[in-house]
Every structure is written in structure tokens, then in C-alpha cells.
Symmetry: C3
Amino acid sequence: MKSNRLIAAAAAGMAFTAAPAYAVDAETAYILNTFSFLVNGALVMFMAAGFAMLEAGLVRSKNTATICLKNIAIYAIAGIMFYILGYNLMYMDVTGYIGSVMPWSADDAAALAETGANFEAGYSASSDWFFQMVFVATAASIVSGTVAERIKLWPFLIFTTVLTAVIYPIQGSWTWGGGWLSEMGFADFAGSSIVHSVGGWAALTGALILGARKGKYGANGSVHPIPGANLPLATLGTFILWLGWFGFNGGSVLALGSAGDAISMANVFANTNMAAAGGVVSAMILTQVIYKKVDLSMALNGAIAGLVSITAGPDTPTLGSAILIGMVGGAIIVFAVPLLDKLKIDDVVGAIPAHLMCGIWGTMAVPLTNADASFVTQFIGVAGIGAFVIVASTIVWLALKFTIGIRADEEDEAAGLDKAELGLEAYPEFGRGAHSI
Amino acid sequence: MKSNRLIAAAAAGMAFTAAPAYAVDAETAYILNTFSFLVNGALVMFMAAGFAMLEAGLVRSKNTATICLKNIAIYAIAGIMFYILGYNLMYMDVTGYIGSVMPWSADDAAALAETGANFEAGYSASSDWFFQMVFVATAASIVSGTVAERIKLWPFLIFTTVLTAVIYPIQGSWTWGGGWLSEMGFADFAGSSIVHSVGGWAALTGALILGARKGKYGANGSVHPIPGANLPLATLGTFILWLGWFGFNGGSVLALGSAGDAISMANVFANTNMAAAGGVVSAMILTQVIYKKVDLSMALNGAIAGLVSITAGPDTPTLGSAILIGMVGGAIIVFAVPLLDKLKIDDVVGAIPAHLMCGIWGTMAVPLTNADASFVTQFIGVAGIGAFVIVASTIVWLALKFTIGIRADEEDEAAGLDKAELGLEAYPEFGRGAHSI
Amino acid sequence: MKSNRLIAAAAAGMAFTAAPAYAVDAETAYILNTFSFLVNGALVMFMAAGFAMLEAGLVRSKNTATICLKNIAIYAIAGIMFYILGYNLMYMDVTGYIGSVMPWSADDAAALAETGANFEAGYSASSDWFFQMVFVATAASIVSGTVAERIKLWPFLIFTTVLTAVIYPIQGSWTWGGGWLSEMGFADFAGSSIVHSVGGWAALTGALILGARKGKYGANGSVHPIPGANLPLATLGTFILWLGWFGFNGGSVLALGSAGDAISMANVFANTNMAAAGGVVSAMILTQVIYKKVDLSMALNGAIAGLVSITAGPDTPTLGSAILIGMVGGAIIVFAVPLLDKLKIDDVVGAIPAHLMCGIWGTMAVPLTNADASFVTQFIGVAGIGAFVIVASTIVWLALKFTIGIRADEEDEAAGLDKAELGLEAYPEFGRGAHSI
């Protein structure tokens, strides 16, 4: 049973504490490793709710039901596609051939149980599968926020399908599947690049190909802010993401069978928290200084920015370094959001600054606190993943654009996607759309 | 100390992995078993928030505060009644006599600690109690959604009291308390029938005796849809339920003291997730095909349908089978919701299709993947539980109807229960009720 | 490595089960202790979302975005200040000198790992740090609800900074840092006094110095109720707090390395739940009896009241006693809320009754079920903490008042803080403020 990031990490000679002989007996370690995947994986699953609420709060009320639908659909599709294709595609270098791990056959469970019961494997195969699966959905969730309010539902879901079944797993295999980036020593602990920048690149190509929402950018370079309809929901979404991130980063220790694993997971939890805190504080201070007002959505994105920034290396920094890494992330938000507007790239929820730019920053920052990582290798990883996802996403977006179309009709966009796509309203009794354009 | 599903399961000869001698030392196993009950139980507790948000999102704004109150009251009452009566009623066949486990006496804690410290028991008695208690509330939560918007508050709470103190525990004792269904080999891993169909039957009898909301059904067979006021909240509720279900099904392994337990729990987590994903996708595709629009509330109920469907047997299917079991659940939603409207059974949130019909489907589907289960026994379980709950619920509903009354006055229903029952509004500043009838 | 409540508790001779030689091997115990801190700590972190939603639901829509911002800022600032100063201030009696545990130095991680790997310590230092840190934010969150809708943003955040960096840690050191209250045998298991009454006292002094919202109290002693804008959010917040409280109290066992720890944690989970249930039920019954209507916000605050009440001693009561302790808490809410209005103390969310009064009640109730605690010592603890926090908070509030000012301008208060402080609206499309004053 060799089928996950753990093996890839060990093969790459990374500082990883689970491999050595257990003082803890093998079965206890097996249970703890498995339970860690399940508990942390459940927290990551809940991030789907976080994205849903963040995006539902930041779009206008006329597009809210559609974004809710997309988010639950993304999570469902991501799991199914990862089952049908993605998991094997991602780990085939490790497992030898496609189809070895999760074949659609009747004796799956028996095989699984048997394989799992080999304590040398260290954890239940299903628990590993569950944990990897919840990561796929995260990458896809990032896209929906950026392209919201003007993309047609089914083309978006088709893009999600390809992203989760093919694009994410292929680049994921390069590092976590034991591929060439892993062999080079590319360090991306929980996926600043592998998860967040992938979602970010796909979002960026989507935003460019799709174009901005009607009315967002004036002819003379003016920018018309389009406020989100429900900021408490966006706040809730951010807190849920923050909570889920403990599982995202903490679970990426990939083991809990030794004191070293436990120490590593504890450091990861603490650093993850402090980076997010740093992101909030720097975004607040900078918006106060620059705009003379604190901006709630900047503060929320500051938290996410801090979280993405620490994700590539949450195990090695001190708490103080983690705060600083997060603060830089928060600053990226404050400067990048207006920059995107200047470039007329319409990113509804600010996912490109938070997930793409901070993903790159976080990946490049790893060597600052981790002697095993090098700037050159980190750059190769960032660029390689970026080049692949840009090309692959662009092909898919363009293929969709020139076949079934991706952009909602002008009238549908004006009326709102909820009416056009779903035939209903998210808030039928109190949404009036007075401030919408 | 013999007082829970674990004993009943072992007695029934079910494929259960905790009983054999531990390679893991007894105390470690004891800790892990206990901690599993607590962590998974906390997730189940959070389902109360999921039901509250789902129902708050799917009722009209004029009834929203009342449904919020009902949901927190249900959870509180369920716990207290399970303490006063339910737990002992449910497990008296196992424990020998009523009152043995949780007597209201001063030396409870000492007794508990002592009993618990007997490692042979395998887990802390309080942790088992906590885990069983959170299940009771779930059954009661199902009812509130169906009968919302026209039932009086206190009669509903009295029904909840009887349901959680008497009806649920009695039928629960048949299987999880070591009773006749257990002896027959009835297989209902986490309660598709024992929890969900029980709530569903009680909801169905309530809906029939209470009648539909004013204006829902026209004289000529027309159906007037009454949209929910806040779909993002309903979406959030669904995600919370999905999260909580990992605890609901995963914790129902009832142990974490061996590698076999861990493997079982991991399989359960993964299958639970995939059934929900299948339910979402099938509900989306079917509504698109049939109605040419995707329906958000159908997709949300599709997730719940998948979750209920897998609950009777989340340990034995392959991932692929779990997806298919969930997809059938999603299809049940799409076809049953209009069917209920044809029968003029007014189910505000769609709980009868999701919890009752999918509960039956899930229970009957167990033998498809579990050789130890038989269709005949499953049918006897479904029918036996159904007959009992229908009769018992009907008696309670009718007794309430002919004494204090259950239906709100016509004016109160028109004005909204929030004003009538609570004297306030859920959204005083922006709820206008323009679309309400 | 001697740096937390655990040591203080052991030193004080409290009934604590982790210290004795493990039957569980030392490394397994180390992992379990650490994992308990992380899982329970993550639940406590999520309480920040609970406070945010509770407060966002109970203020008017024109102040909703500001309260959201405050809540995420509080959590971020609390963590950073606890890192910079608070943790060392709180545990310096234990650790010997300030700066020993979390110095801002490059070899922190190495030192931590090494220290942590000493199994005698029993748990990873980072996990303990994480768990203590999330408690600080809770104390600060309590204040924001009381002083909402009329306090200026930055002065409030400065108060938060001082509270989390200095005031909370100093009084915390008296008990959990091994100080004089610990030596006297003051029993406050998870912080009814140390966390909740501290927040409550700071809130009370703030409310008194700040004054009531315009329009809340008429000249002739009349009270004008100001309803919250979004009660489902307040309900959600309460459920999230309830969930988080399992971590708050359960994690405060501070260990999971023996069967005794597991039993203690299970008792704590069950009692915590039942006290909250008792609070809900008593608040509902009392409001029905007194006002002839059930009040949703009273029921929600009843849950919180029950939770605060049990927090000082959730390990010793029976389930029945826990229900009664919570019921008294619920009653305190029902009687104290109108009392505060009579005194013209404007507490927007009811935090003073819930956290301060029930915190005192819970602390004084410990000797009822715990023979090791004495009423005199409990009273000294309550009074000592109260005196210190009243004086310290008053100094800080007054210093802020007479320098930069704490009260928003009258026009800003009328227009809402969201416009004044953030320049935006929380619900731009449907908030009309028709009912606001």
C-alpha cells in the first residue's frame, strides 16, 4: 500500500517524523494516523461551507442562490471525479497503475480492509483517500468566487469537472504523487501552490476569458464597486475557513503516530492561526492608513491571505515568523485588489489576490524558515504549476466558450442568475436589489 | 456496565471489530473509544444547528424566529427527557432495570468513574450516554421542519417531549437496546430507520392531522409554492448536516480501539461523503432534465437524501456503491416532493421524502452490500418501527388536537407565528413579507 | 517545561488524573494529550464565529458590519498580544521569567521540538500554547457585544489589546499560572470567573462609562427595546458557542493520557450539554410564565447562561445537578435583563447577565458538588478577580475616554457605525432600518 503524499514525502527525504520505528505500538499508531485523517479531513470538508458563505455574502442577492448551488455542486462533483479518475491519476506514480486503489468493483471493501490491516501501511487507505479528496474541492471552490455573477451554471460545472478530474490531479502528482517536483525537493506542505495557486490560476484565466461584470468598469477607467449583499455571511464564511484550515494544514502532517508527529501538528496549528491573525491585522492597519477607513472585506480576505501564505510551510516558522508571513499576505490583499481593478480583471470575491498571489508568496517564503527548501526549486514549482494550469485552464475555458458558451446573456446577468438559471430568488421576501446595478 | 448499542451489536453477532483482545493496550483502547464518542458526538450535536438553519432558511420570514426557538428547544428538551426517562427505557433490556445508569443521586459521578475505570467496559459511560443522547434530538428535529408555519409552539414541544422520552427510546430498544429486532439481525448501522424514519413517520402523521398551510393548495388541485425566505441559510444548514453526519455515521462504529475499528470508521466517513455527493448530483441532473432548471432546494435535499440513504449501512459498500445508493436517494427527493403535493401533504422543508422515504430506501438497501443482512428482516424492521411510530404519534397528535389544540389560529398563521407566539420579528428591519401569502 | 494550567493544577493538589505513571506508554499519552489540546482548541477557536454571529444577529443592520469586523479583529489581536506578552505574563510564576517560552528568536522551533520531545512534559508546548491562546479571545469577545452600536472602532480595539495583553493574563496567572488563588485552592475548572466574569466586568465598566445608546431609555424611566436585525444568525451563533464549549470545558481537563482523563472529559462533555439544556428550558418556562410569551433571545441567552454556569466545575456534578445549575443560570438571565434596564445599563446582547452574573453563580456553585472547594475561597476568587478587573478596566476606559474618546458622534450613531467607521453597509440591498431608531 503505497499511495499518498506520505510516501512521496518520505521518498523526497523531507523532514518527516512518522517513518521511524514506533515506540508507540504499530496498531495504536495506525489508529491515531487514521483518526487524524478523519478529524482533520472533516474540518477541511467544512471549508466547502466556508467558501459557500463567503461567496454568498459577497455577491449580490440576485446571484446568491446560484452561488450556493455551485458550491454544493462543486464539492459533490469534486469527490465523484476524484473517485472516478483523479485519485489514481494523482498517485499513479506511487501506486504503479491507474485503478489500483479504488476500482469500482464489488470486493473493494474487502481489499481495502485487508490492505489497511497491514499496519506497515500506517493508516487506513480510506482515511487517506478521504483526506486527499477534500483537498480537491478546495481548489475548485476558489474558482467559483472569482467568476461569479456572470458565468453560466453548467459550463462552470463542466470546468469544475475537468479541473478536479484531470488538471488538479496531474499537477498534484508532480509533488504529492512522487513526481518530478517531489524529486527536486519542492516544498509545499499543504498546498499554497498545489491547491491554492491552482485554483487561483484557473480563476484568473476564467476571469480574463469571461470578462468583467456589466457595469463594473466604466469607459474612462472608472471602477464601480459592487457591494456584497450579506456581509455577516461573508464573515461567517471566513471564520469557517479559518477553522477548516487547522485540518487543512494540521492534517497535512499526514501522521499522528509519534510524539514528533504530534509536535509537528501542534506547531502547524499554532502557526496557521498566527499567520491568519497577522493577515487580519496588517490588512486592517493598511486600509486605515491608506483609505482612512477599515474595510471589512479586506480584513476578511486578510485572514484568508494569511492562511494561504502559511500553507506552504506551516511546520518550520516560529510563531513570530508566522505572524510576519501572514502580515505580508494581508498587505498583498490591500495592494492587489485595486491593481486587479486597474487591469479590469473582475474578481468578485478577491480570490486571485488571496489564493494565487498569496499562494505564490507563501511558496517562495518557505526557504526563509526551512533550510531544506531552496528559492530556485520553489520558483520552478510555482512556475511549472502555473504554466501547466494556465495552459490547461485556458484550453478548457476556450473550448467551453466556443461550444456551449460560458457567459450568461446580458438580460440574464441584469436580472440575476438566480432567476435565469434557477427560476427563484435567494431572499424572496426582502431582497430588492435597490443598490445593485 | 453493559448499556449501549455496542453490547447489543455484539450480542447480535454483527461484524464488529472492537470485541477481540486488544493488541492496543486496554487503557489506550479505552481512551480512544471514549474520545471517539466525544468528538463524533460533538459533530452530531452540531446537526441541531444544521436543522435550525435549514428550516430557518426554508420557512417564510414571519415564522423564522419561531422555528429557531423550536430547534434550540428541541435539542434542550431531548437531552433532558433522555436523561429523565429515555436512556433507561432504551437500554433497560441491556442494563436489567430502569434507573440503573443515570439515577438522580449524589454519588452518580463516583459510581460512573468507578464503573468507567473498569477497562473491560471499553469506554466511559458518560461518553456513550452523550453519543446516544445527541441522536434523540435528531429524530425530533426532523418533525419540526415538516409541521412548521402552522403548528402552535407548546403543543409541538409537548409532542417533542413524548417523542424523545418514550416513542424514540421504545423502538430504539428493539435494536440498539438488544431487543427483538436486534435478535432477528435487523441491520441499521446508524439509524436510517431507527432515527430518520422515526422522525419522518412522526412528521407524516403530524402533517396529516395538522393539515396544510393556508393557501398552499388551491381548490382545483393547484399547488401554490411558498418559497423559503433565506436560501443561503438553508445551504449552510445542509453543509452543517453533512459535516455532522460524519460523526453520526462514523461514531456509530462505536469504537476506535483497534485497527479494525479505525478502518471501519474511515470507510464510513468516505462512504457517507460519497452518498451525499451522489444525492446532490442526481437531484441536480434530474431537476435539470425534468424541469429545465436546477432547483437549489432539491440539490440541498439531495445531499440529505444521500446521507439518510447510506446511514443504515455505511460500512459495507464500496465508494462506487455508496455513490449509487445516494443517487437513488436524490432521485427519491425529485419524484416524492411533487407526489406529496399531489396528495396535499404539506411538508414545509421536504423532510418526509428525505428522512422517511430515503430512510426506508437506505434500510432496504443494506442487503445489497451486506451479506449478513436479509431483505425480509430489513422489511420487518422498517414495518415494525413504522407501525409503532405511526400509532404512537397519531395518539399523541390527536390527544393534543382534542385537548389544547395544535393548529394556530387563522389570523395568527396569516400574521406569522413569530408575532403570535413570540411577539417579535426575525428580521425586523428588512423582512416585508411581500411574497408571502 | 513547566508552563501551563496543568502544572498549576497539580501544584494546587487538585483532583487531576494525568500526573500518575501511565499504564498507557509515555509517548502515546503525549500524543493523546497534545491531540486533545488541538481538537478541543479548534472548537474553542470556533467560538469566535459564534460570538460574531450572536452579536451580528442582535445589533441593528446599520451596525452589523462593524460588529463583524470587531469580532475578527478581536480574535486576531488576542492571539498576537498573547504571543507578544500575555502568555509569559500569565505563566511567569510557573516558567520562572518572562520570555522563556515563546521568544521571538530563530531557533524557537528547534527549542520547542526538543522541549516537546521530553515526554515527561506530557504534551507539545505549542498545543498548550494554542489552547491557552484561544481562551483569551473569548474574554475579549464578551465585551464587544455589550458596548456595541455606540463605541468607536479603534478605541475599542485598543481596549481589547490591553485586556488581552495585560489584564486577562495577570488575573489568569493568579490561578492558572500557579499564583495566590491557586495556592488558596480556588476552583475554576475552565473559567467561569477567570474568562467569563473577566469579560463581563470589562463589559460592565465599559457600558457604564460609555452610556446607553441614544433612544434606549426615555426620560420618564421608559425602556425602548431595540430589536436585533437577524435572529437566525443569533441562533446560529448560540449553537456554535454551544459546540465550542465542549472544547472549552472538555479541553480544560488538560490531558487525555489516561482512562481517568477520558472519564473526566466525558463527564465534562455531558454536564456541559445538560447545563445548557437546563438554561434553555428554564428561560423558556420563566418567560412564558412571566410575559405570557416565550422570548427567543432569552432562550438563546439561557443556553449561554447554562454554559457559563457549569464552566467553573463541569467535572464534578451529576447530570441532574448540571441541569439544575444550568436552570439557575437561565433564571438569572430572565431576571437580570430587565434589572439592567431598570439601572439604565445598556447591554446590547445581554452579555453581563450571561457571562458576569452566571460566571459568579457558577463559581460559587462549585462547592455544591465538589468537596475540595470552599465557599469562602470561591468568594475570595470572585471578589479578587472582580476588584482587579473593575479597577484596571475603568482606568483603561477612562484613559481612552479622556484622550481619543470612546463614544461615536451622535450623527454617526444615528447613521450607524457601518457608514461612519467602514463606509459601507452590511446588507446594502435589503436593510432599510425601518424599525431602527
